[in-house]
Symmetry: D2
Subunit: 267 residues, 4 copies
């Protein structure tokens, strides 16, 4: 069976999903189900840590999903560290999807602060899954400080631009070389993007906006699940190389030839 | 049920497959099955019209698949027309996937000859499915002469370059506007390409080399089927727009807020 | 001296310019001068063939510029042929920049009609410079019927999209292989596009909208001239290859080394 | 006159050049002259600080060029800081092009270490010109610590890949908003890349490999100078927008019309 592992915990689905931006919590619940996801991320600041029953968490079956708290909304390393600690203290999790995003306009992560916060949290025993850009050297630093995954973006959050720089992602995947999972997070707009991420050799993808803000979030969740599986199968199947010119043909003399072996350039 | 129709004939699968370049005919047979395809294209010149039992056709269950003869290997309009007539005369089909490819090096179609041959064949009562480039004006001409589909390439045959010009394809789909199906044919290298084609609004895709020459053709056939379905679901689900900047965020004052509605920029 | 030749006529400037869309005829005249162009194209239908003194032609110094009539506005092969004949009959020229553009919305050329009209005009003794798409097989047909240049577009007229498919252009240049000049026509939006066209090995470029509709057409004309020259020099100078990875470095032991030969990866 | 200023020092040429990888020092000297550059960067570790007469510096006319020492070859912030101090102590300069490149294989800069070293050096009174990736948040940090320029890459050093992500660069230029110059450094392979960088609004570009390793470095230096000037002029001239569809045409009734104003879609 084709499984993958983060920090000793094994998963089958390679599609992680978020919980923001849905038109309603019931739609969110149905989309989560349609996605087949096992890991669901939720902003710590959206969780009512004192009284969960009336909150977002009431719509997420914790027997079914593995809850991954994230530090969305944190502008600095300090805020992110404090938020992770709060979540753990409240019994939520010692796992954290680390996001340090200084600017609400661009929603781009701060590599310097992310590395800094990651190091602190790893040293405090957290399982840290950092969201980052596609910067190669930053990915290496995050790996070096002991992060449990590397989560580079495809493009900026919510833009739906997909993976305009697949080469940068491919090289991060090469760099990490299986030591931890690489999860492509942010920018995915359609299943073709999710499939491409998996074709490059990513271990998983995380999708939020593209599902939540689709006209039909539930069907789009299913589309993303299919796209991820398609890409994973493709990766395992050994795709053909990209070539500049057409594949060499084997022209034949006769128009209607008697033959049984497939030797033509195309049939 | 989500179906589509060519010349009055209805199909459910949106993945058409070819029969060339497989490592063996048994692998081909298994890959056809894994693809879920209903339409299978085969070069007329590879069919032994006199004695089919020993040929390629012995490996294609004609009760299960709709056989679409193609004119692969024809360099001129005349050759293509003659080949289509031969296939019909031999009882193969009055449908023809029209290919006029003058140069075995590039395997690029000849738009002028394709329009010319299409017009002749349509007038002779053939159901003509022409393979063409992504040229907008040529697509209009093929539509005008009465072709049953338009089949623009993603990129050149066998290159696996995918769809480097999605905008050109999108505009052909707009031009055709549902009058006949648009099938993206050639260039698809991985399921992400197949999914993208469907996301653009194509009615179907045709894949040959990317399946036949994959390391594991059978699993890749399944991957392509999933990619096509993912892209179709995405098209029906209304994907998010691509934007240059991050989606507007809704920054909140409190770090750990009590709330139940998903209003954050990301969760 | 770096010159080029169309149908026996030799030119030094590799920037051809159009005469449409300028804010005024005096700005046009100044932009032509700033461009350094030797060949200026003008729509036959804009020329007052009977009484030139009050027309557009009054602003184009015919001692200085070689006038190239074009068939802009012609929707069919017939119209284009008739327009070329009228221009020659009126003594304008036996050269013609052939444009057959059926649709005023997309302004995309019709390859089939262009080949048809080109063949007729060549047979009547015209020097034919056809505007076409980047279709490889169409380029070959235009070459085969005896055109004096091949003029593929970078992208659609007036879009300023530049050269999104340099590879297609490069292969047309390879195909033509110096037998006639290749001129990239349409789509150029900025000097980087013009330079890229020349770097690919084109013999010249034709620019109209990007100059005429710039905020400062005269300075933009100069910018385009510089871009063309930059690209030409680059082509002659042998550019470095594009590589996926950084160039191999030669790391050295000492930080401050005594050396005179440049051996470091970068300095 | 169109000039620009770094830390109070004014320049006219917008092409900065390096001194590494040339086939010989005499070729380097001639290429520097052909480039028209005013700023020449040289690796501190290549300079023989004790006895300059036999070194690289003998080939650089210090009355003509402004020498910009760089920290090429430094893998950590500490090495870079130490190298900058050595160069200043030896009387070379208090300006430094800061490069911290941990990996000789990829030659990618380390954003975290670059920010760290930049802060130290600015505080010690250096004029710091940091080489960085196209990361938006890192650019902001470098600006915040008081760097004299921001020098994002087009692509990795020596790859000649050009500017595959112009949008990222454009947004850094917007972010910096004229407070300091933005210089595109690394990845430029041909004048079209240099022109594009300037068209985006960069203040200057730095080119080394693409000149030094061209077949004809001297002519390529001239090509780059033309490309930079073309791009600068274009930026000042207000280029036309990129549009998806062709510019609206103004079809006219008559084929040969009497008119003097340029109103056609194209001429």
């Amino acid at each position: 069976m084709d499984q993958w592992t983060i920090a000793g915990r094994t998963f089958t689905s390679r599609l992680m999903v978020g919980t923001g931006k849905y038109p309603s919590l019931t739609v969110m619940r149905d989309a989560l189900a349609a996605s087949g996801a096992e890991i669901v991320t939720v902003a710590v600041r959206r969780v009512n840590l004192d009284a969960r029953e009336e909150s977002l968490l009431a719509y997420i079956d914790l027997d079914k999903y593995f809850l991954l708290p994230n530090t969305a909304g944190c502008h600095t390393a300090e805020e992110a560290v404090r938020t992770a600690r709060l979540a753990r203290a409240a019994g939520l999790s010692n796992w954290v999807k680390l996001e340090v995003i200084p600017d609400d306009g661009t929603l781009l992560p701060d590599p310097v602060a992310t590395v800094e916060a990651a190091e602190i949290l790893v040293n405090e025993g957290f399982v840290v899954l950092p969201y980052t850009t596609d910067d190669h050297t930053v990915a290496r630093r995050l790996l070096d400080v002991g992060c449990a995954t590397i989560m580079p973006f495809g493009s900026a959050i919510g833009t739906g631009q997909g993976l305009p720089n697949p080469e940068r992602l491919r090289r991060i995947i090469e760099l990490v070389d299986g030591r931890v999972p690489v999860v492509i997070d942010a920018g995915i707009g359609a299943p073709s993007d999710a499939s491409l991420a998996m074709e490059l050799g990513a271990d998983a993808v995380l999708v939020n906006t593209a599902i939540a803000k689709a006209t039909d979030p539930v069907q789009m969740a299913q589309a993303m699940a299919l796209g991820v599986q398609a890409g994973r199968f493709s990766y395992l199947s050994g795709r053909i190389p990209r070539t500049e010119v057409a594949s060499p043909s084997s022209p034949e003399a006769g128009l209607i030839a008697k033959e049984s072996a497939p030797t033509t350039a195309r049939a």
